[in-house]
Assembly symmetry: C2
Homo-oligomer: 165 residues x 2
């Protein structure tokens, strides 16, 4: 599979490519390599896709981000605003075989990964919610360890918020 491109607002280190978001996402404008921009839109800079999790803190996206995924003549863009909450689902085992990947829309109960124990038993990690997989992180650890970042269809509420409403 191709690796998606990730653009982030106010990225510290950034490569050449830029994209501008105007009017709260109504206009999305990719800039040429040396193109200057003088409007009042938000400028997002390309960063390394594998750094996705640096822009997520306690399950909340900390900066506006745009994911660009292009295959053949088809471009898929996902614009995630700062403050959006993601669900992080870990999959750890002796062997872990991810079943879904970036961009997969998943429905409640779908399998995310197969876990194999040392004895060879297979169990599955399922998703508790409908949503979209926006990132799959491989965590360096003794046992195989992945984290699925899922954008849920229904916004996540924390417990104290539920009590207040």
């Amino acid at each position: 599979m191709r690796i998606p491109k990730l653009y982030v607002e106010n990225a510290e280190k950034h490569e050449g490519r830029k994209v501008v978001i105007e009017n709260n996402g109504k206009v999305i404008r990719f800039l040429d390599k040396d193109e200057e921009y003088s409007g009042n839109g938000k400028v997002l800079y390309q960063v390394i896709y594998d750094d996705f999790d640096k822009y997520v803190l306690m399950g909340e996206v900390t900066k506006d981000m745009l994911i660009e995924y292009e295959v053949g003549g088809v471009k898929q863009l996902t614009y995630i605003k700062k403050g959006t909450r993601l669900l992080e689902i870990p999959a750890e085992g002796y062997k872990v075989y991810p079943i879904v990947d970036f961009g997969c829309r998943i429905l409640e109960g779908h399998r995310l990964a197969a876990l194999q124990s040392r004895k060879g038993d297979i169990r599955f990690v399922n998703t508790p919610v409908n949503g979209i997989v926006v990132f799959l992180k491989e965590v360096p650890a003794k046992r195989e360890n992945y984290v699925f970042y899922i954008l849920p269809e229904k916004e996540i509420k924390f417990e104290e918020e539920l009590y207040n409403n």
Copy 2:
């Protein structure tokens, strides 16, 4: 699930909303209800999402189209150019239970639907390619009948093209 919005170039019947594609997809601009546009970009008009298959002929997309899918603060856009080839996979049976839906990225061998026979036996329809499900059509018929429209990661080649290359 929410229903995605579909925008199509030169749509005959169209509703109010419009989106403009400039510079071969480098700028995507959603217009306000009464906003006029005078540039030289392609104007796509909103049509009914369920009419998706009217813009596909012999597996080829006949007009530029944009699919907009918005959940919470997140907007997902898929821009499909005219001439893009889609794979149509039918699922027919006494009972058909679709497993994936619009927007699901699928990897070779994933299950698309479960088919139940009159005797209760279950079989699965799998995808032969990696790709994205862009539309799911329910075909009115005596038995339950669905068609999955899949955008493959690798471009589809017809046989005569393979011989010529």
